[in-house]
């Protein structure tokens, strides 16, 4: 008799002995937890043996359990290899889960407010153990997800898997692609750095162009929370990023996968004809059961993919963090995230409303409707010439437009600003000014000029001495000195250029780059010379002033005007003398600031 009013584990122990009772207890718990498989069943499955009892316990978790209720209990053998799916759909789902987990960790340390968001980033990087690691994982996961989802779509296109009966699967897939882009884009703003602010400003300004004007203006206000992106805008992007878009994404992931299961995975084109639905008709000899084969494969891929991501963020990738967002300062060469470059490129073609709104809408609308438009009855490439042509045209157009979206393309700044920018720009887009990574001990206080590089080997000193003489006599030195001490508050009294220290090889390279650029743009920058002045600002802090002095030439519509002799036309003052121009910029370099070229750049 039990001491309790119901039979308990103690009764079992009394009845069967301790050992047996324990084993049976464990077995029962395992069977309940797996919704049907006991320890012996699991052991057999993992050994690759056939199930030893009937009904097949490996089908039970699909029938009775929640976690596997949507997974098919077997797959067709032809879709379990690398081809035709390349695991792309599975990988997309992996990234949804991966981004959710890393994102929740980041949420713990983040407040969506312009006052503290950037400080939160710094804290994640410097005060949270493994904070940078998680941030890097989240960022690389986001970029990878965009890539993988796009590749998944391309794969479905090439194998013509979107055709009947899977049209709606494709349709929901395009919605998931849009969600992925939107998620990635809304997350872009959250660090509240310059990169974020300006990429999102470009994106949001496209929404402003939506016709008619009253719609565009109000949509823009709704998204940004004001005329400029500020506290309201940041909060809205945050809520989009962590709440609305993920919620929709989960729902549509469910819809998409449900459709995949209902129609079965699409077989390679040669094995399945249009209109055939393989799900319920997999011959017995082609069945690969989920437990154990697919399950172990998926768990293996979770391990392998995670390892790859961890390796990438350990050695090869760090999420960028630029300087604090500043609506007053537009960085030169601002671009959208790479997956939106094609829209930015399209915008350079002309009308903002057409290229910024109507064109992308048509593009995505066409993608969604494609399975309903392309109803040709074959999946073979030979029979899909029109579709393949359109597909390749779209891929080519996206590539060309993306290239056009780069700031290198079509955006004209004056040559002097561009050259100084190349020398001094703060790190952005895996790119930084040539002067930043010069080792601190090479920044020897002094004044150096690009003229030195025009000298023949060994003749540097006399050339620089002659240069000092020359700029003193023609007054250009005084002009430069005035600019540097007046507008730029540089604390020097006179100019005296010297040759570079022999061991300052990196500084030499930067100066060579400077000279090279001046030569490249010699038409715009007539008789130009440049230089770098290094002064000590504080203990451990140097100031680097770089400047260009040139003779102005006539420029119309951003292009140099050439005279009859084929030479650029100089601009002359009242006395017939060339008009002189100076442009200067400066940066400060601290000995501990550790600017390294980004990996891979």
């Amino acid at each position: 008799m039990s001491i309790l009013p119901f039979p308990s584990f103690f009764d079992d122990v009394k009845e069967k002995g301790f050992r047996k009772a324990i084993f049976e207890g464990i077995n029962e718990v395992v069977e309940r937890a797996t919704a049907g498989m006991n320890v012996q069943d699991i052991r057999e499955a993992l050994r690759g043996e056939a199930p030893s009892r009937k009904p097949n316990p490996r089908l039970q978790p699909h029938a009775d359990g929640f976690w596997l209720h949507m997974r098919p209990s077997y797959f067709h053998k032809s879709v379990t290899g690398i081809y035709p799916e390349f695991r792309l759909g599975w990988l997309s789902t992996y990234f949804v889960v991966f981004e959710t987990i890393t994102g929740i960790f980041l949420m713990v340390w983040y407040t969506p407010s312009p006052e503290v968001a950037y400080a939160n980033m710094l804290n994640i990087m410097s005060g949270v153990p493994l904070g940078q690691f998680i941030r890097d994982l989240h960022r690389i996961g986001a970029e990878a997800m965009v890539l993988i989802v796009t590749l998944h779509m391309l794969r479905a296109f090439f194998t013509a898997s979107y055709k009947k009966p899977r049209q709606f699967t494709w349709f929901s897939g395009v919605i998931l692609l849009l969600m992925t882009l939107l998620l990635s884009f809304s997350g872009y703003l959250l660090p509240w750095d310059q990169l974020a602010l300006w990429a999102v400003t470009i994106g949001a300004s496209m929404i402003e162009a939506a016709p008619p004007e009253v719609v565009g203006t109000n949509l823009n206000l709704l998204l940004r929370g004001g005329p400029e992106i500020g506290a309201n805008g940041l909060l809205r992007f945050y809520l989009l990023h962590v709440l609305l878009v993920p919620a929709l994404l989960f729902v549509f992931t469910g819809v998409h996968y449900y459709k995949v299961v209902v129609h079965g995975h699409s077989l390679p084109p040669a094995q399945e004809n249009i209109g055939e639905d393989t799900a319920k008709r997999v011959p017995l000899d082609k069945r690969v059961y989920f437990i154990p084969d697919i399950l172990t494969s998926e768990v293996m891929w979770i391990g392998v993919t995670t390892l790859i991501l961890v390796i990438l963020v350990t050695w090869f990738f760090h999420a960028p963090l630029e300087s604090h967002a500043d609506p007053q300062v537009t960085p030169l060469g601002t671009t959208a995230p790479w997956y939106f470059l094609w829209i930015q490129g399209a915008l350079k073609l002309g009308d903002k409303v057409f290229w910024g709104i109507i064109f992308p809408t048509i593009a995505f609308g066409f993608l969604m409707l494609m399975p309903y438009l392309d109803t040709t009855p074959s999946r073979r490439w030979a029979h899909r010439r029109t579709a393949m042509t359109v597909g390749f045209l779209m891929i080519s157009a996206t590539t060309v437009l993306s290239y056009m979206g780069l700031s290198e393309f079509g955006v004209k700044n004056s040559a002097d600003s561009e050259i100084l920018h190349e020398l001094n720009m703060p790190p952005a887009h895996n790119h930084m000014g040539k002067l930043l990574p010069v080792p601190y001990d090479q920044l020897v206080v002094g004044m150096y000029t690009t003229r030195q590089l025009e000298a023949e080997e060994g003749q540097e000193s006399p050339v620089v001495a002659a240069f000092n003489q020359e700029i003193q006599e023609n007054g250009r030195g005084a002009l430069l000195l005035n600019e540097l001490t007046g507008a730029d508050y540089l604390a020097i009294n006179s100019l005296n250029f010297t040759t570079l220290p022999a061991d300052a090889t990196d500084l030499h390279k930067a100066l060579e780059f400077f000279e090279h650029e001046l030569q490249n743009r010699a038409d715009e920058l007539r008789n130009a010379w440049g230089g770098i002045i290094i002064t000590e600002q504080q203990n451990g802090l140097k100031r680097l002033d770089s400047f260009i002095v040139w003779e102005e030439v006539a420029i119309e519509n951003g292009k140099v005007v050439y005279g009859m002799d084929g030479q650029p036309v100089p601009v002359l003052d009242d006395n017939g003398q060339p008009v002189l121009r100076v442009n200067a910029d400066h940066i400060f370099i601290h000995q501990d600031s550790q600017y390294f070229a980004a990996p891979g750049s």
Partner: protein, 384 residues
């Protein structure tokens, strides 16, 4: 091959998965072990870049008044790159030893022999200490604002109870409205929260940069000598006079001064009895009166350099000034500047009136005025 190995055999899949999982864990473990170092190095790097950004902000926003190297502008704003701000005590090394010796001397157990020894050492220290004070006084003698080696800390002068960082940051946030009483311009509020142009993180960067001037125990007398301007302790502006002798016309203030109160003929006649000392004039010009503060920047006022040449060659050629000598022109334009606005402002036309105070008749004695004119007559550099 790969397909057969990994996809078709379950034990291979289990093996690969397990190895991948363990490898990930090992990598994360390795990262975790190094995480402390990485975080510390990020902190160092970030502080360094904060200093860089602060330096860039300082160059644009602060160097006009505080000087490009933070050494202060004579008559405009105090030095920040100065031992005074950081409270460096040049005498501390002597004071510490003196106190220790004093305590030992007062201890009844100290032998008479030792007392004699201590007295000698203390005398020696006192001499050295006095020597340093003398050196400092020589260095700072001509410096405006003044520096007292016995009270070397700005924060102590102001009875500021918080940290230096808080002092600098608070000053940046709210500016120094009261400073208009003893500098030509007040310091404006720089924080967006106080209606200024800069964000808090930028002010933090600026503060980090300014505090990076601290040399700790390594401040030298040369650093003191480099300072252009020390802070001025607050005084009632109406009591600021060049010297305590009789002023020309007492009782004028900015508000009530007008040219009718000045009898130029009588003043000119009286002034003829005085001989100006350019040296003293220069001290007044750069120091107590703060003239140099505005007259060093052509955007604000005609620059000091070449004043006499411009008076002779340009201003006296103006029919409005007919009948004046150069000295008289200078005297009159000091006493009532709004009547003698000089042309040549970079914005076009004359410099604006109402910037220079019209109450100098109540702030200068005849001797002071003569000294100022004498100093300005030395500014005879040729026109550019």
């Amino acid at each position: 091959m790969l397909q057969r190995l990994i996809f078709e055999r379950i034990e291979q899949r289990v093996l690969v998965g397990t190895i991948a999982f363990l490898a990930s864990m090992a990598l994360v473990g390795w990262l975790a072990i190094n995480e402390g170092g990485r975080m510390a190095s990020f902190e160092v790097q970030y502080t360094a870049r904060s200093i860089e950004r602060g330096a860039a902000l300082f160059a644009v926003n602060c160097s006009e008044c505080h000087g490009p190297n933070g050494l202060g502008g004579a008559g405009v704003a105090p030095a920040l790159n100065s031992p005074h701000l950081f409270g460096h005590d040049y005498l501390a090394v002597y004071d510490r030893e003196l106190i220790t010796l004093e305590q030992e001397r007062n201890n009844p157990a100290t032998t008479a022999e030792r007392v004699t020894e201590i007295d000698a050492r203390m005398q020696e220290l006192q001499n050295e200490r006095q020597n340093v004070i003398n050196q400092i006084n020589t260095v700072v003698e001509a410096k405006p604002g003044g520096y007292d080696p016995e009270n070397p800390s700005r924060l102590d002068d102001l009875a500021w109870a918080g940290s230096l960082r808080a002092f600098v940051l608070t000053t940046l946030i709210h500016g120094r409205p009261v400073s208009a009483n003893y500098w030509p311009r007040q310091m404006s509020a720089w924080s967006q929260t106080a209606g200024g142009p800069l964000r808090m993180d930028q002010l933090e960067d600026l503060t980090t940069y300014i505090l990076n001037w601290d040399r700790g125990d390594n401040w030298t007398l040369d650093d003191l000598a480099a300072v252009n301007q020390f802070p001025i302790k607050p005084v009632d502006p109406s009591t600021v006079v060049a010297s305590d002798v009789q002023v020309i016309v007492p009782g004028l203030t900015d508000a009530n001064a007008n040219p009718e109160q000045l009898d130029y003929a009588a003043i000119d006649a009286e002034l003829a009895n005085y001989t100006g000392d350019p040296q003293n004039g220069q001290t007044l010009y750069n120091g107590a009166l703060g003239c140099a503060g505005c007259h060093l920047n052509a955007a604000v006022a005609p620059v000091t350099e070449g004043t006499w040449t411009r008076v002779q060659e340009l201003r006296l050629q103006d029919p409005a000034n007919a009948g004046l000598t150069g000295e008289q022109y200078l005297e009159h334009s000091i006493l009532h500047p709004n009547e003698y606005l000089a042309p040549g402002a970079p914005t076009g036309g004359s410099y604006p009136g109402g910037v220079m105070t019209p109450n100098f008749a109540s702030r200068l004695s005849y001797q002071d005025l003569a000294d100022l004119v004498a100093y300005l007559k030395t500014q005879d550099q040729p026109l550019p």
